[in-house]
């Protein structure tokens, strides 16, 4: 059941050619712009590179927030699923998985390019990749909750950004501070909490939107 929902969500996302390309382009362009903005000091760039990568990843997760659930809410897809007795929590969990697959995997593939532009060495690149792998599910979860809360509101995307950015702080802090020992576990923990809570929060928001 949930597998069918994920496949459907992913197939619909991939129908739009921009769905894969835009987050990746965005990610790479941010990586390319920073050396211009802070100057060509390679040591400084390498030091702030993880932070840049994480902020770019966070913003890339938020890019599709206006379309993530709003279309399905408007065109009756959720109604059809609920009438079949499928829990909105299941629907939200599937959407979370599809969103993560659709934005985080391409991002990880583009990471070496952005890493080179920012002067990350091999070890730094590996650490950042591992951190993104653990942290991006949390970012996807936040994007899903924000999308569910703001679905049906005018200018929902901007509001969603305001909701998500403060909540993303733990993931960002532990993601950027991976060099210190326990950060990896704390990153995984904060990401896991977000992933565990998101389907329920998202379903509650969608349900109250139906009334």
């Amino acid at each position: 059941m949930i597998g069918a929902l994920i496949r459907r969500d992913l197939a619909l996302a991939l129908k739009r050619p921009s769905a894969l390309a835009v987050p990746v382009m965005f990610f790479v362009i941010v990586g390319a712009l920073f050396p211009f903005a802070v100057g060509p000091d390679a040591r400084l760039l390498a030091r702030i590179a993880p932070g840049i990568v994480w902020v770019a990843a966070l913003l890339a997760a938020l890019l599709p927030v206006e379309t993530l659930v709003a279309a399905d809410r408007a065109d009756g897809t959720f109604d059809q699923l609920v009438a079949r007795g499928i829990a909105l929590e299941t629907v939200a969990a599937a959407r979370l998985a599809a969103h993560w697959l659709g934005f985080a995997l391409p991002l990880l593939l583009a990471l070496p390019v952005a890493g080179v532009l920012l002067g990350l060495d091999g070890a730094g690149l590996g650490r950042t990749a591992l951190g993104l792998l653990l942290g991006t599910p949390g970012l996807a979860a936040l994007a899903l909750v924000a999308a569910s809360l703001t679905a049906g509101l005018r200018g929902g995307g901007a509001l969603a950004g305001l909701i998500v950015l403060p909540l993303a702080l733990p993931v960002l802090i532990f993601g950027v501070g991976l060099e210190s020992g326990g950060a990896l576990k704390l990153l995984a923990a904060s990401s896991l909490v977000l992933v565990a809570v998101a389907p329920f929060a998202s379903a509650a928001a969608l349900r109250s939107g139906m009334d």
């Binding site: 619909l12 897809t77 059809q80 609920v82 009438a83 139906m210």
Partner: protein
């Protein structure tokens, strides 16, 4: 006494936006039965159907529904970029009835349109596609919200025949409608 399972509604009340839409709605529907819900705009026909479908919480009352639901809402719920057969196939697979699509397409005269992308369909054709999804679902209880909107006379006839066949097979139908859609001796509920 335990007979065949029934759809039973007792004292159902609906409040939307702080305003009481209806209250004290009661009826029972047995297999083969049809209920035609009538009323002016805003009387709560759609709200009643949404409550029956589990999409809306009733403010009060009891709802006992032992049947799986085929839902026809206001929107056709067809994703642009996919073919009609692909869209109906997805929902039918979700219902575990992938083989039911051709018969549903035939029932609503959509077979020739099956391979077209859904965005080129007219509003009447989209409506028939949504009805075909209900048909393919195999659910015993059809909840149809204004099923005849946008349908031409021939299509309303197809709808009436499909509903009659569904009822003959032991299915139940609840229809919210303004006009007559050719139901055979339905129970009537005025809101």
């Amino acid at each position: 006494m335990t007979g065949a399972p029934q759809l039973i509604v007792e004292g159902l009340a609906c409040v939307r936006g702080g305003r009481a839409v209806f209250d004290g709605v009661s009826f029972a529907l047995a297999p083969g039965g049809a209920l035609q819900v009538e009323g002016r705009n805003g009387a709560g026909k759609s709200s009643l159907l949404r409550i029956l479908a589990g999409l809306l919480r009733a403010a009060d009352g009891r709802l006992d529904n032992p049947f799986a639901i085929g839902w026809l809402g206001a929107d056709a719920t067809l994703k642009p970029g996919n073919t009609l057969a692909g869209e109906l196939g997805y929902w039918a697979r979700l219902d575990g009835r992938a083989g039911a699509v051709p018969a549903a397409l035939t029932a609503f005269d959509l077979t020739g349109l099956a391979e077209l992308p859904v965005e080129v369909l007219s509003s009447g054709q989209r409506r028939r596609a949504a009805l075909a999804r209900v048909h393919a679902s195999g659910a015993p209880l059809w909840l149809l919200d204004e099923p005849a909107v946008g349908l031409d006379t021939a299509s309303v006839g197809q709808l009436a025949r499909a509903v009659a066949a569904h009822r003959a097979g032991g299915g139940l139908v609840v229809v919210a409608t303004h006009g007559d859609i050719g139901l055979d001796a339905p129970q009537r509920l005025a809101l």
